[in-house]
Symmetry: C2
Subunit: 354 residues, 2 copies
């Protein structure tokens, strides 16, 4: 049976309705819904509507602040510090993005630190918006502990992601969005459910030994990319997002799923660069196009059809899904159906009618 | 036989004398010598005085511009663009560092792009200086092609390094300095000389297949950390350092060893952050100390004596080598001895007398 396909605009409306009924302001609800559907459009299901139920549960538990606005603590020179006030991560993220864009337009670069935020969806959501305005954006975030420092056996760092968006011209923009761990915890959980082994470089068990057993991996710790290099990257991101901004760091960042006493207190950094301080945007776009074409013309290994630019496959998926609908996994459809009916709306109104 | 040990100040003097005799201005010669000995002190021999002979050969070949100064092309807001004028990389790097520090003090952050530079030693040389002044520094550089894009089989990107320096208090500072490749080409060349196999994740052969044969690896391409993630990191660094600044990119960056027609035209980015825009420096230093101690107290895997912070082992090596001397490898001693005598100086004056 083919999975049911949903219209992306329809999904945005339904999700916004749920969030709105759960108590979110209308515009916040729309923004959070957009950020989640953005991930589903790009084929990054882990950061898509599969997160809506947990977002709503945290609202119900009183762990998200729906009434306060993210507040500018200080703006000085080309830097700013924002207190997310424990609002939805996406609401906080967009406020920080707007501030970073404004600072970059004024100063060539803008550096915005964010404290007291929540899970803010995928970093690419923000990078894509900056790129659409001809700006470069670098986004960092810390996350709940899942990765041990090199040599250690207990999770300390999150999968602390880094994203970079860079506009191009006719070619798709550069849109890198990566965790500093080799694999996502979600992939290991899935392997555990299916009873299949995982690659040997994904995780260590509780004794610090590499394991292919997903069940043991879940009791252990994720491995960073490049060994000690990825540990270094995760640590610098944690320092930038947490120590510098006043957000939580390391195991102080609360779990989205496992902590029902405290807000997450996640920290982010948004770094925006105005290309035009260095060269005319149109010249830059042309250079990017040439550069991308040069990379794509490198001879490929046997069995490789083409070289892809970071973000390119996701952009193609987005184009296809805007046209043909989003095929949500059955488990997600079931969860969302229940959630929608509990909040007086109906998921089926978003089903594609072809 | 124990290797001969050299006094670091003595090595700086001898190296500066060679560079000076080769035509460099006195202060430029001293600065380049310092940047190389800095790497030897930290135990990073690949970026130390082993590079002095090739630097001198490029001077002799007329490929380094000894008379011009790095020039500020534009300074606007919190950004600047510097033309290295094909001077020594370290001379250009320090000019960019100074500009970035000044911009950060004025605006909270400073972003300096650099074009027309050369091999500038190890990034940690600059990060260490910023950290000593209580500043955060992020350094990026592109480099001659040695790494294929994921799916490709010909080198396109350099090992494009990223370095981050962050001050602490009583604990050693955070000093990450890493290539975006799994291993350095120099390590593979060494394995080829010794006839020993290399780990399977270091390189691909000329057909794009993973290889443990170092000779085949040298004809192929280095692999990036984390697969496509490292490819994405290397590409964003290339775009920042090259397309944005007007330096060369991809295979356009000339080899330090293999190209005798053209200057390297390397590009760098220096991003400096003034901690005090976010919180008092002393408070930050204390938080860093606590944070580092927390990481170091994570339980370790069997056989692991302690958890190290990025840069910690290098800092210990530096302390030991300042005290006990630098044990240069015999091949480097031989090369330097010849070079010194050709330039009217004597390496043996730097030998430790204990």
């Amino acid at each position: 049976m083919n999975p049911t396909r949903f219209h992306w605009k329809g999904l945005e409306q339904v999700a916004a309705q749920v969030l709105s009924c759960a108590g979110a302001r209308r515009e916040d609800a729309q923004l959070v819904a957009q950020s989640l559907v953005h991930a589903d459009l790009r084929g990054v299901e882990s950061h898509g509507l599969s997160r809506l139920p947990i977002y709503v549960q945290r609202i119900e538990a009183g762990l998200i602040e729906l009434s306060l606005r993210p507040a500018l603590i200080v703006r000085q020179g080309a830097t700013a510090l924002i207190d997310g006030k424990n609002q939805f991560g996406a609401v906080v993220g967009v406020a920080a993005l707007d501030e970073a864009k404004q600072l970059a337009r004024q100063n060539g670069i803008g550096f915005v630190g964010v404290r007291h935020s929540n899970h803010f969806g995928s970093c690419s959501y923000y990078a894509e918006q900056a790129v659409a305005e001809g700006l470069i954006l670098l986004v960092l975030s810390n996350a709940p502990a899942s990765m041990a420092p090199t040599g250690g056996i207990e999770p300390f760092f999150g999968t602390n992601p880094i994203a970079v968006g860079i506009p191009a011209g006719e070619e798709p923009p550069f849109l890198l969005d990566m965790a500093t761990s080799v694999a996502a915890r979600g992939k290991i959980a899935l392997a555990a459910k299916q009873g299949t082994p995982i690659p040997g470089d994904w995780a260590i068990d509780a004794d610090g030994l590499p394991t292919r057993d997903p069940t043991k991996a879940l009791l252990g710790s994720l491995l960073p990319i490049g060994g000690a290099k990825g540990y270094g990257l995760a640590m610098f991101i944690d320092i930038f997002c947490g120590l510098l901004t006043g957000a939580a760091v390391g195991p102080g960042v609360k779990s989205l799923y496992g902590n029902w006493q405290h807000p997450q207190d996640i920290g982010h950094v948004f770094l925006c660069i105005d290309v035009q301080r260095f060269l005319p945007l149109e010249t830059f776009r042309k250079s990017m196009d040439e550069y991308i074409r040069q990379i794509k013309s490198v001879p490929t290994a046997c069995g490789v059809a083409e070289i892809l630019i970071p973000g390119e496959i996701e952009q193609r998926t987005m184009t296809a899904r805007k046209k043909d609908g989003i095929p949500l996994p059955q488990t997600v459809v079931e969860e969302l159906t229940k959630l929608c009916s509990a909040y007086g709306t109906d998921l089926s109104q978003a089903v594609c009618t072809a």
